[in-house]
């Protein structure tokens, strides 16, 4: 017979928390967790205590106060009367602008340098190696300052562009000065919406054609000339529309009417006969652009009186808000005929064009600086170029690594099938290399975005300079400002990596 002996009863003892492997990991995690919570609460209470000792509170109310300082580069409306929150927004947009431009250019540079570094041409591959090593191994701040110094020290001052100066504008319309680069700005005229519509439709057509060509190639093996057709679709419809609109109404003449002068005067003669020249115009239209160009050409001083539309401008002219107005030539006679009382408009000799659907406002020399056109400040250019060149060097290495990760057999197989080298690269190598390239590329984009906070070194007004610099300094809200700044970079980085991860999940190897 056998005796049934019960196994010793399991009872929980405290020592098991340390000696029993089943519980040990739990114990360690609990202790670590408690320590962490204690540490954080101690840090917070220490901060609160110290703020109290300094007599400061924790309050975001400063964001609603008047900022009081000016910002040079504004993508949204901002004056010194705006709030600190608005100033922060201006800074945020500037940060995003330089980060976006930087990521785009860095990718282009990086891909080109990465591919060329693998070139069999000794000179090209060595040149790329010099670029990569040179930019990768010198601190970014030095590059930013070096490029900025180069731009301010070696380019001419705006006053050198005056007559007798030794500088002249590139193609007559781009001015590279030590205050920045001034390029022509587009001004949309009548028919612009049609032009933009046609452009959007041709973009859709390009996309549809590429899809069709791809399908057809899959089905029949025929290769359509995708690139040439896309190029044609891109340019031809838009250009045709542009010229059609230009032919229809671009050459419409505009008469210049003036009050209080004799008929048949030129602008210059009229200006001399008047105390001051006040011109009614609608800012942002091609008519105003051409009128101001004519006024500058006649070398007369004038004040612009802005209106919202032509009807209001005419009323303003009739009640004497201004003494010069431009109207379509066909309307000028009725206006003169209907004039009554002391209001007696006369046409001047000059006429102007009404303007095409798209005109360009050329930069011109004002009092101290260039006026008109788009002003790309040296701070933006220096920061943009330095960030792109620096990050581009890292991306080049990532691209090179990605390409090298595709086995040589793939290339040989493609050659054996008769694919040419550029098709092999585009259709065989790069799609496979992308799987390796994308994940490290995300962190390079994040690096570039965060590195843009070095902007203050060249006086670029990014969010670190507005919210994290001047605002903190004027209000003394270091903790609040830095927390907001940290939060902004965190959110921006998460957004970028989210978007890139979405892209990554589309190009990565699909296993079925």
């Amino acid at each position: 017979m056998s005796t049934l002996s019960e196994p010793p009863k399991e009872s929980f003892r405290l020592s098991m928390l340390i000696y029993d492997t089943r519980y040990r990991s739990l114990t360690i995690q609990t202790v670590a967790m408690i320590l962490l919570v204690l540490m954080i609460s101690w840090l917070v209470s220490n901060t609160v205590q110290n703020l109290e000792n300094l007599g400061k509170d924790f309050d975001f109310g400063f964001l609603g106060q008047r900022a009081g300082y000016d910002i040079n580069q504004r993508l949204v409306e901002y004056t010194s009367q705006s709030t600190h929150a608005r100033a922060a927004l201006v800074g945020i947009l500037n940060t995003i602008l330089v980060a976006f431009l930087g990521c785009a250019l860095a990718t282009i540079l990086g891909v080109i340098a990465g591919v060329l570094r693998l070139s069999k041409n000794w000179l090209v591959s060595r040149l790329m190696a010099v670029y990569v090593e040179g930019f990768r191994n010198v601190p970014l701040l030095l590059w930013i300052i070096a490029i900025f110094a180069l731009m301010t020290e070696s380019t001419p001052m705006p006053r050198d562009f005056r007559e007798g100066g030794d500088a002249s504008m590139l193609f007559g319309s781009i001015a590279i000065s030590n205050r920045g680069v001034y390029v022509p700005a587009p001004v949309w005229g009548e028919g612009a919406s049609l032009l933009i519509g046609v452009f959007v439709i041709s973009l859709i057509a390009i996309w549809a054609f590429r899809r069709y060509a791809h399908r057809r190639q899959e089905a029949t093996g025929d290769i359509l000339p995708v690139f040439r057709v896309s190029l044609a679709l891109f340019f031809i419809p838009v250009l045709l529309t542009y010229f059609a609109i230009a032919f229809a109404n671009g050459r419409t003449e505009q008469a210049i009417l003036a009050t209080g002068g004799e008929a048949g005067l030129t602008l210059t003669e009229y200006a001399e006969s008047q105390e001051s020249l006040n011109v009614c115009l609608i800012p942002g239209t091609t008519t105003a652009l051409n009128l101001e160009k004519t006024l500058r050409g006649a070398d007369v001083r004038y004040n612009a009186v802005p209106f919202n539309d032509e009807g209001q401008a005419l009323e303003g002219f009739q009640v004497g808000d201004c003494n010069v107005l431009s109207v379509p030539a066909t309307q000028s006679d009725p206006i003169i005929a209907e004039a009554e009382g002391g209001f007696a408009p006369v046409p001047l000799v000059e006429t102007i064009r009404r303007g095409n659907a798209l005109e360009f406002e050329q930069p011109y020399l004002g009092g101290f600086n260039f006026d008109g056109g788009i002003h790309l400040r040296n701070s933006l250019i220096a920061l943009w170029l330095a960030l792109s060149l620096y990050t581009g060097a890292f991306i080049a290495e990532i691209v090179r690594g990605g390409i090298l990760s595709v086995s040589k057999g793939q290339t040989e197989a493609a050659y054996a099938l008769g694919l040419r080298p550029n098709r092999t690269m585009n259709l065989v190598i790069l799609p496979q290399a992308m799987r390796v390239i994308i994940p490290p590329l995300i962190s390079q984009y994040l690096n570039l975005t965060k590195n843009s906070s070095l902007a203050i070194a060249v006086g670029y007004m990014d969010v670190r300079s507005t919210l994290g610099g001047i605002t903190i300094n004027q209000t003394g809200r270091e903790l609040e400002g830095m927390l907001l700044l940290g939060l902004f970079y965190l959110v921006l980085s998460l957004l970028i990596s989210g978007a890139m991860n979405f892209y990554n999940s589309r190009v990565k190897l699909k296993e079925r």
Binding site: L43, L54, F368, G476
Partner: protein, 338 residues
């Protein structure tokens, strides 16, 4: 990983704990030197000389306080600060006092929680332009590009000035005086604006100072002075009365040349009280009786410091103007030592 987190926490706590101390005088005496915030380099006010020693009008205030508190005018650790870093440095306790051409304003006093201990230079904001521009008045500056140090009152004054006169301008924000100078000379801006004294000091370092003019308009009041943190009144009093001692010394004719003689006793009770041979002012302020003697000996009285660092005989060449004694039509007026 746990270890790194712990060490990190220790470091942070060390930093935070440093700020909490209130008794600055004891800290300074225990440490044996004074941490004094100065500018990153403004000739005449605070800049390192060829031997690497800090000197200038603002630096002299630090040295006087160090001499009064520690008995040694060289026991000063100078911390260069920019317009943006200075207040954080003072608020966090990194420096014991800030003597860096800083304007006394209501919000800095009350909102930023600092205590200005007096005014060592009455200044105003001016504009420096190249003569070649042909500008004679600040009202002609419509559309100009203006170099400006960020984080300063001048930045706000500038915005107000252009707005009230209905003019446009393009601000070029810059961190330090040296960068501003480089940008201005390269022609990246038409105008440099800051306190008129700073403009004079900057212009003095140009190759051809006569090619540049300071426009006649002074667009603001800029009383510059040393400051300390709120909350430690004893320390604030020491800084305040050291500055007053320098000013009073000039008023009563106490100079670094005759101070030893006067310190033996005179028949002017005010001088005796300042120099500690009569009364117990030193005891009241928490120092020994000849604290003021040491402060004045450190570099001389206010007038001597002015002449040596920024006066008309120096390249900076500033006139006393508002900064003369009240007895000579200026604004300097020390309360009585009694």
């Amino acid at each position: 990983m746990k270890k790194t987190a712990f060490l990190g926490a220790l470091t942070v706590s060390g930093l935070v704990a440093g700020a909490a101390a209130a008794a600055t005088l004891e800290d300074v005496q225990e440490r044996g030197n004074l941490n004094c915030g100065v500018s990153t380099g403004l000739p005449g006010f605070s800049a390192p000389n060829s031997a690497g020693e800090w000197e200038g009008f603002d630096v002299a205030v630090c040295r006087a306080v160090a001499a009064a508190v520690l008995g040694d005018p060289t026991a000063v650790e100078f911390v260069p600060t920019t317009g943006q870093t200075r207040f954080t440095a003072l608020a966090s306790g990194e420096i014991d006092m800030l003597s860096r051409n800083t304007t006394w304003t209501f919000s800095r006093d009350n909102d930023l929680k600092f205590e200005f201990v007096g005014v060592n230079y009455y200044d105003g904001q001016g504009f420096l332009v190249p003569k070649a521009l042909g500008v004679t008045s600040a009202k002609d500056l419509d559309g100009a590009t203006v170099c400006i140090q960020t984080g300063t009152t001048t930045e706000l004054n500038l915005a107000d000035f252009f707005r009230t006169n209905n003019m446009d301008y393009e601000p070029v924000p810059i961190e330090t005086n040296a960068e501003a100078q480089q940008q201005y000379l390269a022609g990246a801006c038409d105008v440099y604006t800051t306190d008129a004294s700073g403009l004079a000091a900057t212009r003095a370092t140009f190759e051809t100072p006569s090619d540049h003019v300071i426009l006649p308009e002074i667009i603001s009041k800029e009383p510059l002075g040393p400051l300390v943190r709120h909350g430690d009144n004893e320390w604030g009093d020491i800084a305040r009365w050291t500055l007053n001692a320098l000013i009073a010394a000039e008023e009563y004719g106490i100079t670094s040349a005759n101070i030893d003689e006067l310190a033996e006793g005179t028949n002017n009770p005010e001088i005796n009280r300042i120099l500690g041979t009569e009364g117990n002012l030193g005891e009241m302020i928490g120092l020994d009786s000849d604290w003021a003697v040491r402060a004045i000996k450190a570099g001389g009285n206010y007038g001597e410091l002015f002449e040596r660092h920024i006066g008309e005989s120096t390249p900076i060449g500033l006139a006393r103007g508002l900064n003369a004694q009240w007895t000579e039509g200026g604004l300097l007026y020390s309360p009585p030592f009694r």
